[in-house]
Amino acid sequence: MHINPLERKWVYVSLGMVGLFVASIVLTAITEGVHPPSNVETVDSASLHLGDEFAEDKLGVRQQPDGSLRVTLVAARYGFYPNHIEIPADTPVTFRMASVDVLHAAHIPMTNMSTMVVPGYVSQITTTFPKPGDYPMLCNEYCGLGHDHMWSKVTVVAKEEWHGVAAAEQQGSKP
C-alpha cells in the first residue's frame, strides 16, 4: 500500500501526541494517586426508600461511633436530598450516595468532591474541605430535562464554629 510521505509524517506526529497524552495521564495517576472512586457496592435503586441505609429518616449528616462524619444523600430527578447540608471544614467527610432513578453525578466546584452516582450502586467518596463557605452541589451527568436545575447547597463552616450534628439527628442514626 502506498502512503504519501507527508501523510506518513502526520500519522507519526498524531500517534506521538496520543502516546504523550496517555503517558501523562498514566504518570499523574500513579504519582498523584488520582483514581475514580472505586467503591463497588450494589443497592436496589427502585426500593431505596424501603431499604435501611437510604430510608428517608436516615439521610443527612451523621456522626459515626468512631467520631467520623458521614453524609448520606440520595440523588433523584431533579435534586439531591436533603437539599441543604452543613459540614465542618478541615474534617474528613465520607459521602455515601445512591440514585433513585437514572445516572447522576455529584460535583462540588473548587473542591475535589466529584463522583458518579450510578443506579444500582452506592457511590462512596471521602474528602476534606479546606475552605469554609457556601458551595453548590451539582449534577454533572446529563440526567434529563431538569438536569440544569439539579443542584443543592453545601455549607462548610469553620471547624471551631462547628457544633456537631444535632442531638436528635444523632439518636436516629443509632440502630
Partner: protein
Amino acid sequence: MRTFIALAWLVLSGLSAVAAAEPSTRIAWTPQTLNLVKSGDPARGQTKAASCQGCHGAEPANAATPFPYLNGQLATYLYRQLQDYKAGGRPHPIMTGIAAALSDQDMADIAQWYSRQEPVQMPEGRGDVPRLVVDGDSKRLIAPCGICHGGHGQGEPVDTPRLSGQKASYLKETLLAYKSGQRHNDIYRRMRTMAERLSPDEIELLANYYGGLR
C-alpha cells in the same frame, strides 16, 4: 433465662421498629409492581369503578366538589395513591376505608380503566404560562413544574401525575397540603420541599394555570 432474653429482644426490637419513621410510601417501582399495574384489566376496572364515579366522574354535578377528576391520570399514580390510602401513607377520612376493601388486582384494574379515559376538558381558556412552570426558580431551588409533570401537564413516568384537566381547586388544596406537610406520601419529600418554598399567591397562580390547561 434464655427465654427471658429472647422475649426482651423481641420487645426491644418491636419498640425500635416503632421508633423508626414510616416510609412516605410502601410502594416501590420494582418490575413486579410495574407488571402488576400493567396487568390491570380496564373492562373489569370499569365495573369496579362504578361506585367511584359518583364522586370522581367527569360530570357537571361533580365540578364544584373537592374530589379530583381521575380521567386520563397515570395508572401508576392512581395505583400508588390507592395503596397509600390503604397502608396509611395518605390518610383520608373517606378514601382510607374504601381502599382498605380493594385488593392489589382491583387497584390495578381501576387504575387502568381511569388512565384510558379522555382527560376532562376545562372550560377556562389558557392564560399566560407562569415563569415557575418553564424556568422554575434556581435561587430557591425550585425546579420548573414542566420538566417532571410534562410540557402540557400530562404527567410523566414513572408516577408523576397529570395536572392538566384537573380542578384548580383540587390542585391548590394539594399544593397547600404538601406545603403544610399534611400530605406526605412523596418519596424523599420531593414535592414537599418544593411546595414549602412557594408563596400562597404562587400556589394560586399555578393551580389556576394547570386547572385551565387542556
